[in-house]
Structure formats: C-alpha cells, structure tokens
Symmetry: C6
Subunit: 211 residues, 6 copies
C-alpha cells in the first residue's frame, strides 16, 4: 500500500516530540526535502533570545518575529506576560554542520516557542511548513512536493500548510500521499489549535497563567 516502504523512524519521532518545545518542520534542499527538528528551551534569565544551528539571517528573523508575536499575544495564549522577562529562550535547529536559511520554518518556530512556554507538547507524527508574519498570518512557501515526500519517508502522519499551498499539494500524485492528513490554515491560531491539542506536561510548572 505504501510505496515508500515502512516508516522506520516512527518510534523515534514520537519520542522526540513528547517533550514540550520540540516541533518538526519541513525543509527543501537541492537534493530533496528533509525533516527538521526545531527545539526551544527555557532557563531562568532576563528575556534573552539565543538562536543556534547554523541559521541564516532570514531564518533568524523568523524566530524573532515568532517571539514578538507570542509576546504581543501572551494573554490570548494563556501565558503570563512577565515570563518573557524572567526566562531566557534558546531556539536551536540540530545538525549544526548544515547551513539553514529562509522564512519557511516560521510557523514551526512559533509552535515550538509556544510549546516551550505553555508546557504543552506538540502532537506526535505532525510536521508543518509556512512563513509567519508579525500579525500571525501564515504565508505560502515553496518546495511543497519535496517536503511532502520527505515527511512521508520519515513517518509523518499529519502536515500543516498555508491554504495558499493547497494547490501545490493537489499537484502531487495521490499514490505518494498515502494516508497523510493535511491541515490548511490562514492564521497561527489555527496552527496552534492543531499542534498543541494535548495536555500540559506533568513535569511542567511555570509560565502558564492560572485563569
């Protein structure tokens, strides 16, 4: 049924995302698509944002934009506004030997930051790609076909894309898509509704406001 063979990474991917602060993005490279873990971690501090993982300027700007959006919407997302002054945030993209750039990891970055601050892990087997704007709108990105194939190979079951990318999915042969489920979104609120549907992690105590 699945011409790409068994999803041998399934178990690994599940384990990765069980901890709050980790989300899976989709990257386009000259030799095909790839999945991209994006990690965020908090430590007591003064609100500094650290970015590592051999990131280009545009990708760093995506992270900055994501954090500004989260700060401006803190209350709406149930976060205490003061947490942004009391914690340092580090966002890292592993495989430091590979240079990475472009705006398409924007929604993954915001998801991972929101996950870290809220203590809610990202849904397993889920990947996403899309540019984020400062007002939370999701913009379409390129390389959709290659990214979908890479996600499929890695055992991903659900993908979040910008509505404007739906047409690119429809151009991919159904045979390759298998039972991949797509979520088409216009705004970050919809991304987070899909991605952070789970409970706050038991070990988590901290940055979420008690309503």
């Amino acid at each position: 049924k699945d011409i790409l063979g068994p999803s041998k990474f399934d178990r690994d991917i599940y384990q990765e995302v069980a901890v709050p602060g980790v989300a899976i993005g989709l990257a386009w490279t000259p030799v095909g698509g790839d999945i991209l873990f994006i990690e965020s971690s908090l430590s007591p501090g003064k609100g500094k944002l650290t970015l590592t993982g051999n990131l280009g300027d545009v990708m760093k700007e995506s992270a900055t934009t994501a954090l500004s959006f989260l700060k401006a919407k803190a209350k709406q997302f149930g976060l205490k506004p003061e947490v942004f002054d009391e914690y340092d945030v580090h966002l890292h993209v592993p495989e430091g030997a590979i240079p990475k750039d472009g705006p398409s990891a924007g929604i993954t970055m915001l998801t991972t930051l929101t996950s870290a601050f809220s203590g809610r892990p990202v849904k397993p087997y889920l990947a996403m790609t899309g540019e984020i704007t400062l007002r939370g709108k999701v913009l379409p990105v390129g390389g959709i076909k290659e990214k979908i194939l890479a996600a499929k190979r890695a055992g991903i079951r659900e993908i979040i894309l910008c509505k404007d990318n739906q047409k690119h999915v429809e151009q991919v042969d159904q045979e390759y898509l298998g039972d991949l489920q797509f979520h088409y979104v216009d705004r970050m609120d919809e991304v987070l509704d899909v991605a952070l549907s789970g409970e706050v992690a038991p070990s988590f105590k901290g940055t979420v406001a008690v309503n």
Copy 2:
C-alpha cells in the same frame, strides 16, 4: 470597465488592515510593482525597536527615522510620551525571502507605527508610498507608474503620494487608473489624517493619552 480584471484580493486586503499596526506600501521591483504589507506590533518592554523582513540599511534607517519623528511628536498625536519606554516595537515586512531596500516605505512605516501605538486601524483599501524626513516632510519617490498598476491589480482604492509625485501620476494613461483616488500630501500629518481616520479598535487599551 476595469481592464485589469476583478479585484480578487479585495476581501483579503480588507481583513489584513482591520487590525491596528498594519499598513500597505507600494514597492518597485525589476519585474514590476508590488504591494507590501508592513506590520508593527507592541509588547511590554523597554523601548527597543526590532526590524525584520530582510530589510536593507536604508530601509532600516527609514524605520528609525519614523520612530524618532513619532517620539518627538508624541503629544501632538495623543500618545503618552512614556509609552516609548514601556513597550518594545517590532516592525516586520513579510515575505522574508525577498530582500527589500530603499526609503520609499518611510510614510507607510510611520503610518503603521502610529497605528500600533494609537490603536487606530489603517483605512482599508488604502496604499501609500513616499520617503519621510525627520521633521515629517514627505519626499517624492520613483517607480510611480508600476506601483499604481500593482495597487490597482491588488484591489487598492486609494493611494497617498507626495505632491511632487503628482506629475508622474498624470503621465499614466487614465484608462489604467480607473476609479483610483489619489491623496497628494506634503507632510506626515496629512498622511495620518487620511490613513487613521477610524476609531480606536475595541480591543485596544493602552498607549493613548486621555485628554
């Protein structure tokens, strides 16, 4: 009647600008004009200005100049002077993959900043282009014909331009302009009179002085 076809983006553009802090600029590119969303967002902070969106040095200087003008005229615009110390401002121009530069987004940047600080959304279907100076004078810019055509294509209904650009509009075939309405201005005050004519957004509470 309209040789450019239906304005299929109308609805989208209206939605975008309904939130305070978003304004539409006009850009010239080697392959024609384009519209350019410019977004500003506040979060509690210490007065830091963050600029993202793959902006060149001249464009960053425009944003700096716009913010200085707004600070110097805070009282005149009904803003509490202390807000510039109590909030961080982030100005972002989406589509991070595209490098952007030049001074012509100056008046759009100041409009978006004023909108964000005052809580008053920018008038819908409105675009603008013009360099801003530190004393609030509006200077003419290039690429007027291409910019007008792009605005028309995107469903824009009104455009703000420097008075010294009026002659360039008059060189454009009336057939292309349709019912586009032009506002020719000399100073930023006139830009803001046109752009921020609406009410303070209901969700807004914050940086405006109670007179």
Copy 3:
C-alpha cells in the same frame, strides 16, 4: 539680472527652516553641487545619538564631533548641561537613497544640533559648508564653485564659509554670484552668531537654561 532664473524654491526653503533643528548644507557630487537639508530632532531619552540618511563613516564622525563640541560648550551656549542625558538626539539627512560622506557638513550639523537644543530656528535662505573641529575651529572644504551655483539655483541668499575658502569664491565669475552674501568665519561661534540670530520658537519649551 539673475542669469540662473527665478528662485522657484524660495518659498519651500523658507518653510523648511522655520522649525528649529533644520539647516541647509551644500554638497559636492560628481554631477554638480546640491543643497542638503540636515535635520535634528530631540525626544526624551538617555543621551543616545542616532544618525541616519545613508551617511558614510567620516560624515558620521562629523556629527559625533559636533555633538561633543556642543556638550563641552553647553554653558557657553546657554544650554543646561543635563539635557544631553535627558534627551536622545536624532540627526537625519533626507534622500536616503543617496550615499553621502565627507567632513564638509560639519558646521551644518553643529548648527542644526544647536538649533534643536536651543529652540532657535536657523535663519532662512541661509546655507553653509565647512569642516568642524573638536575645538570649534572651521576648516576649508572643496567644491566651492559647484556648491555656490547649487545654492544660487535653490534660492539661497547667504552662505557661510571658512575664511580659507574666500579665495575660491573670488575665483567664481561675479555674474554667477548675483546678490549672494558671504560670511567668512574662523570659528563655530561666528557660524552660530549668523545662523541662530532669531528668537526661541514659541512652541519650544525645554532645554535652554534660564539665566
């Protein structure tokens, strides 16, 4: 009488300089001289100096030198010394698309800064060019002939130059000079005596010491 034709910019120039903080410099470019507005603006702050307008390193150093001179001479110029800690200063040179460099805007920069801090507008129809030193001495600069012609074209009526540039003026055909009035100076004190002869602006309240 005036072979350069009517001064069609007269009215504009007068309007520009009516506000404290704006002065007119003279620039040399490969295609001739040009006038150069230089703007300074204050906002409540901590003494930061911001420089914009596509300025090269030497031109930025001129502004830094001008501000240091003004700080060291604060009392002599009737300024409260503490204002330099309580305000941020932004100095901008419009037309951001054009790179600008060199030390010859030094005396214009100091004039515009002094005007902004003292609330006294610069005399209308006045332009100037000259390097400034840290001890307030005015040094001669190049391109005098081209600068004079540009000033004349723009409706300038008086020009301040370094005494050592007088010989270059005398080499210009009298026919081109018309009724242009020249002020030859050795020190910044003389520049300010000519340029800031007017009253403190009515709207101004602030940085000047009451004697």
Copy 4:
C-alpha cells in the same frame, strides 16, 4: 598484542583529566584524527560565557547549546540554578594556532561544563565525540575511523559515541580496536552517567545543591 605500540601518553592523559572541567574530545582533520582537550573554568561573575581556542561559528554554537541545556536541566543535575548568574564560565580548546569547527565536540563540551559546575572530574582514559541538541539528544558524527585510531594512539581506553555511529565502528578492523571499550548512547544523560561517575573533587566547594 597492540600493533599501535605502547601508550606513551597514558600517564599524561590521566593527569590532565584529574581536575574537574577537563574532558577529551575526538577531532577529524585532513591528516587524520586527533584528540582534543576541552577545558572549562569558573570564576565569580555574572553568567558570561567566554569561548576561546580559535573556534568557528558552529563550534561556538555547540558550546552555547550545551550551556543552555545545562541551565534548563540544572536541578536534575544537582546544580543550584543561581550559579549560572553568579559565575562566569570560560570554555577553551588548547592549541590556539589550529582553527577548529563543527558540531562534533558538542557532547564533550557539555561534559566539561557539567564537570566544572559539579566539581566531579571526568573519568580518566575516556574520550567522546557527538553532536548535542538542545533537548539533550546525541546525534551521530563523521570521521569515526580516524578518530578511533587517534584515541587508541593516545592511550584512550573508553569512547562514548552516538548509537547511530555503532555501524561505523563495526566497519573498523578489530585488530585496530584492541581492548577499546565503546559506550553507545542516545541522550546526554547516558554520556554523563559514564563520564562523571567519580566523586566530587575534595578542593571543590560551591555550585552543587545539597539535597
């Protein structure tokens, strides 16, 4: 029995690592593998991280990532969270004449930092190589064969590697491995379990929490 000859460096290596804050990494160079001492040292301060030893950007990012992980896991590792504000950390890689880069020293860097903060020396005759992620996962690296041979030559007795690097070890001729012992790990916890098995150094007083 050992075709590489006697381990003439044994004694030296033991002496080096007896002090907390020193660990041995494995490096790949165009002319073969090499061992790499990595040193961390604390001094009373404000939480500054200093990195020296002619390190490239990717290697510096590894150190930053290692420190963020340690901060986020401070309690789990028995460290008082406030030590990261009360001490400056300096991480140095000797032989400053040789430029060094890449992510493969990540797990060694985290080991040396943890050793310095906890006062527990690293196990003698132990070397390691592997990329670290922000969530403590260990990633595979290249040059395994050359690194193993260099470790053997230098008298190393145990090596920590990522589980995904086991296949590369199995490709090395057993004759070269001698009695080298390998520890294959998935997460930093396992690295530290192997590397920091000893007691807190007698001279150490300071950053560890009393449980």
Copy 5:
C-alpha cells in the same frame, strides 16, 4: 638665514594651542611630512572614550593606551582618579577626509589628553612624534626627516623626539634645521615636563586634585 622662508603660520599655531587639549603631532605621508593637530575635549559623562578623524585601528589603539596610562598614573599627575568616571573624553584629529594610521601620534595623544584633564595648555610652537607604551616609555618612529621639514615650514620652534631618533636628526642637513630646538626623551614624564610647563588655564575648573 631660514631657507624655508617666513613662518607664515606662526600666529595661527600659537592661537590653536592656547586652549587646553590641543597638541601638535608630526605625520609622515607619501608626499612629505605634515603637522597634525590633535584635540581632546571633556564633557560630563561616564568615562566613555570617543575617537574620530578617520583613524585606523593602530592609531585608535594608541589613544586607548594613552588613556590607560593616564588613568594608572592619575595621582602622579595630580588628577583626581574619579574624573575618568565622571567625564567622557573625545579625541579628534581634524581633516576627516584624510585616513590616518600608525602609532607615532602616541605621545601627542597622551599630551593632549593630559592637557585636557589638567587644564594646562600645551606650550606654543611645540610639536612632537613618538610611540607610547603602556608603561610610559617613548619608542622611536620613522619619517623623521620629512616630519622635521614639515614642522619647520609650519613655524614650529621646538620638537620632542625619542632618544633613539636622535641619530636620524643628526643625519639632516643643519641648514634645514635652522634654530629648531630638539628635546630627546625616554619616558612620557619628560614629554609632559616639556609640553605642559604653563599654568592651569584661568577658565579651567575641574578635574585637578587640590593638594
């Protein structure tokens, strides 16, 4: 008697150096020697050192070294140690269009800084050239012949040089030297003994300790 003609700059030079903080250095350029005014000026502040005048890195380091020496020897020179925290110092070398570099202005820089802090003007008609070290030793520099000729042309009457440069002076034809007086020194103390022999300027009130 003087084959270089009358010293037409005499009067100018005397006027320049009458104000504390100004000293005359000697520079070598591809087209001959030149004199170089070096200016230092204080303003109330927090101990910041600003360097302008199109200076290269080595020349900037000379100024930094000079200031450190002065700080370390504050008491010996009668300066209150706290002045270095209470004033900002700006050191400027006029003629910003000309790039300048090298260590040979070191002793002039220290002289001008000491003059500014102590309120004692530099002796008129005096020039100097020499590298300074952190412990106040004066090192020899190049281009002695060209520098002497430039000093003579400009009306300089006394020159301070490193003892190790005496042999280069002796190689210059006596005819060119006229009645130039040379001071050969080993240490900065000797430079200051010659250069700052005058009284504290009447207008000065401030940074000197009352013994």
Copy 6:
C-alpha cells in the same frame, strides 16, 4: 666567549622590567626571532580587559584565557577575588605598527598580568615563550632556535620553556647558547615561581590579600 658580541641592551632591559606588569616574550618572525615586551596596567574600574598592540584574534584569546586562569586561581595566588571587579586591566604589546598573532605569548601574558595584580616585578634578564591553557598547563611552541638567538642578542640570561620544547633547545649548537639558563616547565605555577621570585614593589599598595 660570546660570539654574539656584548649585550648592549642589558641595562635597558633591566630598567624595563623593574616595574610590576612588564615581562619579556620571545617572538618568531619571517626575518628571525625578536624579543617582545608585554605590558599590563591596572586602573580603578569594573573589570574590563583592554587589549592593544595590533594583536590578532588568537593572541587576544591567549590574553583572555590567561585572565580567566588568574581569576579562577585568585586565592591560590594570594589575590583578593574582588580585585577583578574593581580594576580595569589593559594589556599592551608595544611596536603597534607590527601585526602580532599566535598563542606563544600566552605564558608571558599570564606572567605580566599576575605581576601587575600582585605588585611583584618580573625577574630581570628573563624571557619566556609558551602557550597557556585554561587549566594552567604550558604547551610547546615553534621557532625555538630563532627565539633563543634573539634572546641572547638582547642580553637575556634566563629563558622559560615548555618541557616539550627541551628537545629543540638541545638541537641548538652549544656555542650559541653561552651561559643562557633554561627553565623547563609543565605548568604555569612553575613559570610564576621562576618569574615572580622578588618582593612586592614598594610603591605597590593594593590588590594582594593579607594572609
């Protein structure tokens, strides 16, 4: 007896090193060895380290490493830990026109810093060369033969080298070494035992702990 001729610099060198904070290193250059004065000086401040003398990045890192080692070992060396917060340190290498780089001045830098902080002058007629590590280990360096000849020419009587450099000394013809005395060391403690054997300078009052 001494084929290199009389030591005409003897007296000078003795004078230089009589003041705490000055030590003599040995450098290798394309045209032979050279001696290198390294100077450290303290002034009241906040713990800033300033490095001048046209130093490359690796040489700057050596100084940073030396200072970190000294901070971490403050008590062991009889220094009050708080001095590193209360003084600024400036380390300068004279002859600013010559670019300098490499790690071989490391032990000289640490010696000069320790001398400055402890008030103990460095032993006269002593030179040294060697890389320093963060844990105080001394590493071997290159150019030993050229460095020894330069030291001999300059009147140096004792040289400190890493034990691993002994073999390079033994390759030098005994005829050139004369009565030069060598100290071979493994750790910085041994360097300081040789170099700082004298009394605290009489003029010194300050940073040493009273036991």
